[in-house]
């Protein structure tokens, strides 16, 4: 059966078609080619011919010409449209003309860089020219580093290495910086929120160093589809940017379908299990060897899908080895092998987590199945983009979970199809982020009194650093004089990079089989967990938390384990509080993740066959948070005397709605990513004694977002009212207070009631104490521009 026949059956068989919540066909798009521009070196053209590239797609030619004209560019094109040539072409062309020229490639992850280096090296090989490309990351042996510094034409690295290893030692990279012509920033959309704000500052520092060595590189950025690629690129690199977004790559017709598993228990509203639904959907695809990728939202989901798909392959008489898992935590060599297998067609189906969402080259697949909504419109498009052929038909399926958000999309598919993808927001001038990087900048080179760094107020910050004896002012310039190495104290990413190593002790000689990041370890490799790796089951014998090691033994059991983690929040100290109709405060909080129990669930049926206690220390994170206490009128606890009162359920819904609305609006004010904030609500908070909602920072220690939430309270409330009352939905949707299943039928209205009662009150709340003087104008500008960009 072909994919077309499969799709037909899906639509015509009533048992199947009743599950279809949306069905869209995206018409085929013809190729739009362009001859090689004259400026492209003839040898390079020959090498490309040799690699089977006879002409360029229009976007590639457009990118080349813009770069040739000296512009900074951002290229936004779909997966597998040949975006790497958009930067490899100008870079190689320049090196051929100017053999001393250098380029710096920045990738957000190692997996990605390995892939792209491979492609570049193939091209260099075809060129038969002496062009050296090197990867410089934590794995680069010390012995190779000297050669890379001196002789690498193309240095491939990541922002973290640039930040801690290259910029602070820039004199060792003299040759690179003197001759730096291009900086490539791949996967630009990854650099958003607090992480993006850090990276923007690393780029400011890079620019200073280039100025010192007399170079002025051009930036070539690529991005997946986001709402504001040009503006985001400009903010990130601090320069005007030309947008290249009309793809010339061809695409076959593509069907996008939303599949809602049927209700199996009408009373409880329980739907059929998402993974089983994905399995059923994948069955015919696998039987017919149609190249397929499935995405799970968690590692566990990805591993379960791997097991299911392998089982399907066996069932249909196919080699189970043609089905593989792909997720973070596999060893790099394993991942490389899987990527190669996919490209070369030995692997026909892969079950992945979002580790594959990035631009890793796995060739063209015919079908993508998403087990659950990935959380954002942008990443949904990216995952769906994995299915796409240059000429043949492709299909992407979103299979809903029973989560409120997924169910909302099933009933309101237009919410997905009509809305532009999320904006990437950053705030490079966030005071804490800026201060951190000014420390690094002055470490790298003394800062002149009148030197521009970013948009703002560095003198004030430098004086602050001076008072801490971190810098010294010689009358003209600030010099770094502290004896600590500043870059090491500043992590660009909030997530810890520590891992727990998984060691298989089945055989006499223990063997490392993989690793999991520290944050996920309590849920995945607690004692007695079944850890799945490449669809082999392992029983966790013991977890040595101190040593970051999990010891496992191979087993074959018919169940898997699923751990429950309780998230709690405690207020450590209140930095400032405000009374008024909507009492609020901000301060230091500690967020606690406590693994509680794990369930043993039977494979294929999800039947609960047992459970166990998890005894692990809870992981805590110190950070900052802001919290709001529900107005007195509404928040009165249910009791016989006071009325009218809300039931606990209604209160629960109202709190969820309110926290959702504030969480939705806050990133626009803070120029951060929604993921930079977490939210918690409590019917009765131990700290305030009343119904309370919290927004907390996900970056350990925080970067001052919570304090700004507190300060911008009035604007925030007004904007939230605006958002909720102008939202076209009836009972709540992901854009305003959250889906109705989460907030209940009264959630949206109650949220509005609460917010309006705050606004209606004669005195908008006044803070009772203030932190250091805010920079009103600057912040106001920031907000104005962020609101503009979000429209």
């Amino acid at each position: 059966m072909t994919l077309l026949q499969l799709l037909d059956r899906l639509q015509s068989d009533p048992r199947l078609s009743s599950r279809i919540a949306a069905w869209k066909t995206i018409p085929a798009r013809p190729a739009n080619s362009s001859p090689f521009p004259d400026a492209v070196n003839r040898d390079l053209v020959r090498a490309l011919h040799h690699r089977g590239i006879e002409s360029l797609y229009t976007h590639q030619a457009e990118a080349f010409s813009a770069v040739h004209a000296g512009e900074h560019i951002v290229v936004v094109t779909p997966t597998a449209s040949g975006k790497t040539l958009c930067y490899n072409l100008p870079v190689l062309n320049r090196i051929l003309e100017e053999p001393d020229a250098r380029a710096l490639y920045l990738f957000p992850t190692k997996a990605l860089s390995a892939d792209q280096v491979d492609e570049l090296q193939q091209l260099v090989k075809a060129l038969n020219a002496d062009i050296k490309t090197f990867t410089y990351d934590g794995d680069t042996p010390a012995s190779a580093r000297r050669a890379i510094r001196a002789a690498g034409h193309v240095v491939v690295t990541n922002p973290d290495m640039l930040h801690t290893a290259i910029l602070p030692h820039h004199t060792k990279w003299l040759r690179l910086f003197e001759n730096l012509r291009y900086v490539i920033i791949d996967e630009l959309h990854q650099y958003r929120g607090v992480f993006g704000s850090h990276v923007a500052n690393v780029i400011r520092r890079l620019s200073r160093i280039c100025r010192f060595y007399g170079s002025d590189p051009q930036f070539i950025c690529t991005s997946a589809t986001i709402g504001n690629p040009k503006e985001h690129a400009q903010r990130l690199i601090g320069r005007p940017v030309t947008l290249v977004d009309r793809t010339g790559a061809p695409a076959g017709e593509k069907v996008i379908a939303f599949i809602n598993p049927p209700v199996v228990n009408r009373e409880l509203g329980i739907r059929a299990d998402t993974l089983m639904e994905v399995r059923d959907l994948a069955s015919e695809l696998i039987r017919n060897q149609i190249p397929t990728i499935t995405f799970g939202r968690s590692r566990l989901a990805a591993e379960l899908l791997t097991t299911y798909l392998k089982d399907l392959a066996t069932h249909h008489g196919r080699d189970p080895e043609t089905v593989r898992g792909y997720r973070a935590g596999y060893l790099p060599s394993e991942r490389r092998a899987i990527e190669r297998g996919l490209r070369e067609g030995e692997i026909r189906a892969v079950a992945a987590t979002n580790a594959l969402e990035l631009g890793i080259d796995i060739g063209q697949l015919s079908a993508a199945i998403l087990a659950g909504y990935p959380g954002t419109i942008a990443s949904t498009w990216q995952q769906m983009g994995r299915a796409g052929r240059t000429s043949e038909l492709a299909a992407a399926f979103l299979v809903a979970t029973s989560d409120p958000l997924d169910q909302y999309l099933m009933t309101h598919p237009e919410y997905f199809f009509d809305q532009s993808p999320e904006h990437a927001l950053i705030n490079p001038d966030n005071t804490l982020v800026l201060t951190s990087h000014l420390k690094c900048a002055v470490f790298e080179l003394p800062v002149d009194h009148d030197e521009p760094y970013g948009a703002s107020v560095q003198a004030e910050i430098m004086r602050h650093l001076q008072s801490q004896q971190i810098v010294h002012d010689d009358g003209r310039r600030w010099h770094y004089v502290a004896d600590r190495f500043p870059a090491e104290e500043i992590s660009l990413r909030s997530a810890s990079t520590e891992n727990v190593v998984i060691i298989d002790e089945t055989d006499p000689k223990p063997q490392v089989v993989g690793e999991v990041d520290l944050a996920s370890a309590p849920a995945l490799v607690h004692e007695h967990a079944i850890y799945m790796h490449l669809s082999q089951q392992y029983h966790v014998e013991r977890l040595d938390w101190e040593q970051r090691k999990a010891y496992v033994k191979r087993v074959e059991v018919d169940y898997y384990t699923d751990a429950e983690i309780a998230v709690g929040i405690d207020v450590l100290s209140e930095d400032a509080g405000a009374r008024g109709p909507f009492p609020r405060a901000h301060g230091d909080v500690v967020v606690t993740y406590r693994p509680t129990i794990f369930k043993k669930l039977k494979l294929f049926t999800q039947e609960n066959v047992g459970w166990g206690q998890i005894t692990l220390p809870e992981t805590t994170m110190h950070t900052t948070g802001a919290w709001w206490v529900l107005p007195e009128v509404i928040a009165r606890p249910a009791g016989p005397k006071q009325s009218p009162t809300w039931s606990n359920d209604r209160l629960q819904g109202a709190l969820a709605a309110l926290s959702h609305a504030l969480h939705n609006i806050a990133p626009l004010y803070l120029m951060c990513d929604p993921n930079d904030l977490g939210r918690v609500h409590e019917i009765r908070s131990p700290h305030t004694g009343r119904p309370t909602i919290y927004l907390y920072e996900r970056a350990p220690g925080g970067v001052g977002l919570a304090e700004r939430l507190f300060r911008f309270h009035d604007e925030l409330v007004k904007a939230a009212i605006d958002l909720v009352s102008n939202c076209g939905c009836e009972w709540g949707c992901p854009s305003c207070v959250g889906p109705v299943l989460e907030v209940g039928s009264s959630g949206k209205a109650d949220c509005l009631t609460i917010l309006s009662s705050v606004i209606a009150s004669p005195e908008m709340s006044r803070p009772s104490s203030r932190g250091p003087e805010g920079r009103g104008d600057l912040l106001a500008n920031e907000i104005a521009s962020s609101l503009r960009s979000s429209q």
Binding site: P168, H169, H170, T171, K172, L174, V442, F443, E444, L445, P446, Q469, H472, D474, G475, R476, R477, H479, Y480, V481, A482, D483, R484, F485, P486
Partner: protein, 376 residues
């Protein structure tokens, strides 16, 4: 003291008969030549910095350069009073260093020299400091004393080897903050101990350099305790193989660390092999097999190797191999395959030899001779 805009130059000289450590400075200058570096005129260099982590944000605020002068050791200290004057000061430092063609430092390879190189580059001056002829005395000290003292910091070496005492001193890690304090307050007095510290470091550097040279020149008359294996290695790389072998022999007299003992024995065995002394080889490994510090199977395996390759007696080699396999317990598991492989090869060799007759017989008789010699 000369004061220019933003930096000071201080000079100081010590007479050659000034004793620091074991010998007068004059002797140290002379003795040190054996240790290197190549070059006609040597400068001893030590710096004080605003940080110990390195990188572009670490300033070198005090540079001490000593050299042999007319009847004295002359020290010149360049002190950066004003960070803005760094280029001017470095220009003079560069001129000063160009008068010499070799440098001696303590940890200069990893610290002082890259740091100075960085400072020159940041001041837009090209100086190939790292490329110059250079001896890092710390590398010698590590070999000579690390295992004896459990460390090789200058402070430890002064205390245990040179037996010099510092009267006024600041610990190294305090120095950066003293300089920052000076920048902040302008109070020069806080820095006096830093100048003294730098001068003392250079004196000790000259003395250690001399002592290292002395040990290398006369390993049989060492005035201080020393790691014999380390000294042997240093002599070996300098081509003094006989002296090195002597050191290894001394090391084996009382070495109880299995891995060091194994390395010393292996180094000595190499020497015997290269100089064609199979009897010594047999003695050496025989002794090791009996001492019981190096694993027994290892010594037996080495004996098998001697019999196989030096004395061409596969049968005896086979016997030792079997013996070695029999005495493996636990720790040698991963070498078992290697031994079994050897055994197979020897079995083959032993049979072909006995078939071939005269040649094999001759070889055997040669080894018989040694064997009988040894049994006497």
């Amino acid at each position: 003291m000369t004061t220019s805009d933003g930096f000071d130059i201080r000079t100081h000289s010590w007479p050659l008969d000034r004793v620091h450590g074991l010998r007068p400075l004059g002797d140290a200058l002379h003795l040190g030549r054996t240790a290197g570096p190549e070059g006609n005129s040597i400068a001893w260099l030590d710096t004080e910095t605003t940080g110990l982590a390195g990188g572009t944000g670490t300033y070198v605020f005090l540079i001490g350069i000593a050299a042999a002068g007319d009847g004295c050791v002359c020290l010149t200290q360049y002190f950066l009073r004003d960070l803005g004057a760094e280029p001017d000061m470095l220009e003079l430092v560069g001129d000063h260093l160009r008068r010499f063609d070799a440098l001696v430092t303590f940890n200069g390879t990893r610290f002082d020299l890259p740091l100075l190189q960085t400072r020159f580059l940041l001041c837009r001056m090209r100086a190939d400091i790292e490329a110059e002829s250079h001896l890092d005395v710390m590398n010698l000290a590590r070999r000579l004393w690390y295992r004896r003292l459990g460390g090789y910091s200058m402070a430890l070496l002064e205390q245990m080897i040179l037996k010099v005492e510092r009267f006024i001193d600041v610990p190294g890690w305090v120095i950066p903050s003293l300089y920052v304090q000076f920048l902040h307050t302008g109070d020069f007095d806080v820095l006096e101990p830093v100048f003294a510290h730098n001068a003392q470091d250079i004196l000790s550097l000259v003395a250690l350099h001399g002592l290292a040279g002395e040990l290398l020149a006369q390993p049989d008359r060492t005035p201080v305790l020393v790691d014999w294996f380390g000294l042997g290695r240093l002599l070996d790389v300098r081509g003094k193989v006989e002296a090195a072998a002597g050191c290894y022999r001394v090391a084996l007299e009382d070495e109880r660390d299995p891995s060091v003992r194994r390395r010393a024995a292996t180094a000595l065995a190499r020497h015997y092999r290269l100089t064609g002394q199979p009897e010594q080889l047999l003695d050496l490994w025989d002794h090791e097999a009996h001492t019981g510090i190096v694993p027994g199977w290892l010594a037996l395996e080495r004996l098998a190797m001697v019999w196989e390759w030096e004395l061409h007696d596969p049968r005896r080699a086979l016997a030792y191999t079997d013996h070695a396999i029999a005495s493996i317990n636990g720790d040698g598991d991963h070498c078992c395959a290697r031994l079994l492989h050897r055994r197979e090869r020897l079995l083959r060799k032993a049979t072909t030899r006995s078939l071939r007759g005269p040649e094999g017989a001759e070889a055997i008789s040669a080894s018989e001779e040694i064997a009988s010699l040894r049994s006497r």
